[in-house]
Amino acid sequence: MSYFGGGNQQAQTINPQNIAMAEQELEMVTDLFNRIVDSCQEKCIKLGEGQGDLNQQDSLCIDNCVAKFFETNSKVGEKMQNMSQQQ
């Protein structure tokens, strides 16, 4: 009896391909996050100016910027999928 799920857990083997897939997924998400931090900082924040706080305008700009980056990411993804199907 196991607390975690079922009986199909004896003799679990690690499939290196699964680990590599998870690594790639993690890599992509982190890369996307870092690019958004960079781009939205460039678009919304003057680092050396004003106070050390985000004012309301900064915050709104960041929120919209992240949303638009996600949308751009999807649009480009769809586009590339269409292209690869047409080939």
């Binding site: 679990q12 998400v29 931090v37 992240v66 996600f70």
Partner: protein, 88 residues
């Protein structure tokens, strides 16, 4: 990210990988922050030490950058949630 499709042995290894990566990502965020604030704030290279004005600028810049990264992180988490396939 949802790794529930993997078995427990794999999930354990993935968890270790994530922890290692978080350490690396934190280091990268930190050194990135240092470079940005240096680039934005240090402008006088006739002296060896940061001037008072430069140091004030670095402090504000670091505060602002960290708050910015945090806010992006919150929005990112929300939007990633929405992107996950339904029923998963």
């Amino acid at each position: 990210m949802d790794f529930s499709r993997f078995n427990q042995a794999e999930q354990a290894q993935i968890a270790a990988m994530i922890e290692h990566k978080q350490m690396k990502d934190f280091m990268k965020l930190y050194s990135n922050l240092v470079q940005r604030c240096f680039d934005d704030c240090a402008n006088d290279f006739t002296t060896k030490s940061l001037t008072g004005k430069e140091e004030g600028c670095v402090n504000k810049c670091a505060d602002k950058f960290l708050k910015h990264s945090e806010r992006v992180g919150s929005r990112f988490a929300e939007l990633s949630q929405n992107m996950a396939p339904p029923g998963n």
